[in-house]
């Protein structure tokens, strides 16, 4: 059993997480045969945790996409019900090219703004706990003391914050613009999805 090390966690946070939104959009256009996008993402993280070392990975984004693709292919091969055409379709998949995504462009301040915006979406108590813990860098015990609540309540709020932020990142994360470009589904109309913000 490999438990993720501190270094690997930092590496995932720095190099993988920012590409997750884009990966999800890409996956949502593929035949996944019995798998959810969520499943593929979780399996992919598991593989990245299990790697002996990551120092040789020059391009983490491409690597992430390749890992996800291997997860999809394995599920397809295992399922044995898949038609030949689906399999060749996936195998001929081109991992999307390395456009300088917004994550690469959005350095420094913009990224901080995004972090601030995400924190702002949390429910009030949860947000207060998370702000004290992350912005003011208090320990969970100190947060409990400051707010006059129990440590286990603080822990619960932290768990909720991590869960909400994880799904915020998945669907509106650092690759928002890339995600908007990578879509070929014609059925949804822009009106239905609220793109007409000006009105």
């Amino acid at each position: 059993m490999t438990v993720p090390s501190h270094e690997r966690t930092q590496w995932l946070a720095r190099w993988i997480l920012p590409h997750e939104g884009e990966l999800r959009t890409w996956l949502s256009r593929r035949p996944l045969v019995g798998l959810d996008v969520d499943d593929v993402v979780q399996e992919s993280y598991a593989i990245l945790v299990g790697l002996g070392c990551v120092g040789h990975i020059r391009n983490p984004r491409t690597y992430l996409f390749e890992v996800a693709k291997s997860v999809v292919l394995m599920a397809l091969r295992r399922s044995q019900i898949v038609s030949f055409s689906t399999l060749t379709d996936v195998e001929s998949l081109e991992v999307p090219c390395d456009a300088p995504g917004p994550d690469a462009i959005a350095a420094g301040r913009q990224e901080l703004e995004r972090i601030a915006t995400f924190i702002a979406t949390l429910p009030p108590k949860c947000r207060e706990v998370f702000t004290l813990r992350k912005v003011h860098e208090l320990s969970q015990r100190e947060v409990a003391h400051r707010m006059g609540i129990s440590e286990s309540t603080v822990e619960k709020h932290m768990g909720k914050a991590v869960r909400l932020l994880a799904s915020a990142i998945a669907y509106g994360g650092n690759s928002r613009i890339a995600a908007s470009k990578a879509c070929e589904d014609e059925r949804a109309t822009p009106e239905a999805s609220g793109i007409r913000l000006g009105n």
Partner: protein, 331 residues
């Protein structure tokens, strides 16, 4: 790599796993685990590779927000409330049911929004699209590699299309006309939706999706009145061509708002040129006969190489990856 077929052996859903993983991450964030807790965590993790993945992801999310310390003690989350990303409280399945395009569109909407009044140049990089709201209620969506300069005055709303392509959704205001300039070509509207593009050869195209507009082609002659479903192109010498276009075709022609590109009726060479607007990854076609082949279909603007590969498959030609992108040759 060891992965299970999770949906068959483990009925636990991905989101249940995610909740449990977040709780574990919060527990670890609190402090060192006791011996028993450590054992319980390892037991939980060992039962399904997805749990390990979800746990690693939860830790990464938590670590990602360590950077929030840089916001400083003066940080007040309330200040950041208006520009919300899609609410995380909405369950993700809702997004998936809504369809990929809806997700992407709502995400795009959440991002490229700013209120612009006057004197601000708005520019997009190659591959980006951006929607801006003007303070008077109109909205402009910029396509890839484009540049506009809005100037809102009391009696007149003006926008310079300096480069590229944009879609204008103009709010109706008879007392305050909306005028778009593209070099000598001027389009005057009351309330409508139309797109406008400047081509590299100097020509300008205007297409009306709703309402009507008046186009002054810069020739000193009468302006052209264009209605819904009409498209006009002004060539550098002053020649003007107008045509009727079906509403569906018009909608497709502004598919770039949603990251899609309609290549219907184009040759492969034209499609390659179209993709060059969106990406520096080039599709190179040396062979004229190959370049003249017809393509059709709707593709993602962000995936030129995927398009090249698909075209090669369907046309029976050879696609070879190169340092710059993809080369297409006959077999």
């Amino acid at each position: 790599m060891k992965t299970n077929a999770p949906h068959l052996k483990h009925p636990e859903s991905a989101s249940e796993i995610e909740s449990a993983a977040a709780s574990w991450a919060a527990r670890v964030d609190r402090g060192k685990l006791s011996f028993d807790e450590q054992a319980a965590l390892e037991k939980w993790l060992g039962a399904d590779t997805r749990r390990l993945g979800a746990y690693a992801r939860a830790l990464a999310v938590n670590a990602h927000f360590d950077r929030a310390a840089a916001l400083g003690p003066g940080f007040s989350p309330e200040d950041f409330e208006e520009v919300r990303p899609p609410s995380p409280a909405l369950h993700r399945r809702h997004f998936l049911f809504a369809g990929g395009a809806a997700v992407a569109a709502s995400i795009a909407a959440a991002v490229g929004v700013g209120m612009f009044s006057t004197g601000t140049a708005v520019v997009t990089a190659k591959g980006d699209t951006r929607r801006i709201a003007l303070t008077e209620g109109s909205a402009i969506t910029l396509n890839t590699d484009s540049h506009i300069e809005p100037r809102l005055e009391e009696r007149l709303r003006q926008v310079d299309l300096v480069r590229g392509e944009a879609l204008f959704d103009v709010s109706r205001d008879p007392n305050r006309p909306f005028v778009v300039h593209a070099g000598d070509v001027r389009v005057r509207v009351l309330g409508t939706s139309f797109s406008m593009r400047r081509f590299d050869d100097g020509s300008v195209e205007v297409a009306v999706l709703e309402g009507h507009v008046e186009v002054d082609a810069g020739s000193g002659l009468h302006p052209y009145r264009l209605r819904r479903g009409e498209r006009l192109r002004v060539f550098p010498g002053g020649d003007v061509r107008t045509e009727h276009v079906s509403h569906a075709a018009l909608e497709r022609s502004v598919g770039w708002r949603r990251g899609i590109i309609d290549l219907h009726g184009m040759t492969l060479a034209q499609a390659a040129a179209e993709y060059a607007r969106y990406s520096d990854r080039r599709i190179v076609i040396a062979d004229q006969a190959v370049g003249a082949m017809k393509v059709t279909g709707v593709y993602s603007t962000s995936d030129p190489l995927g398009f090249a590969r698909a075209a090669a498959l369907s046309l029976g030609i050879q696609a070879t990856p190169t340092a710059e992108g993809m080369r297409l040759d006959s077999r």
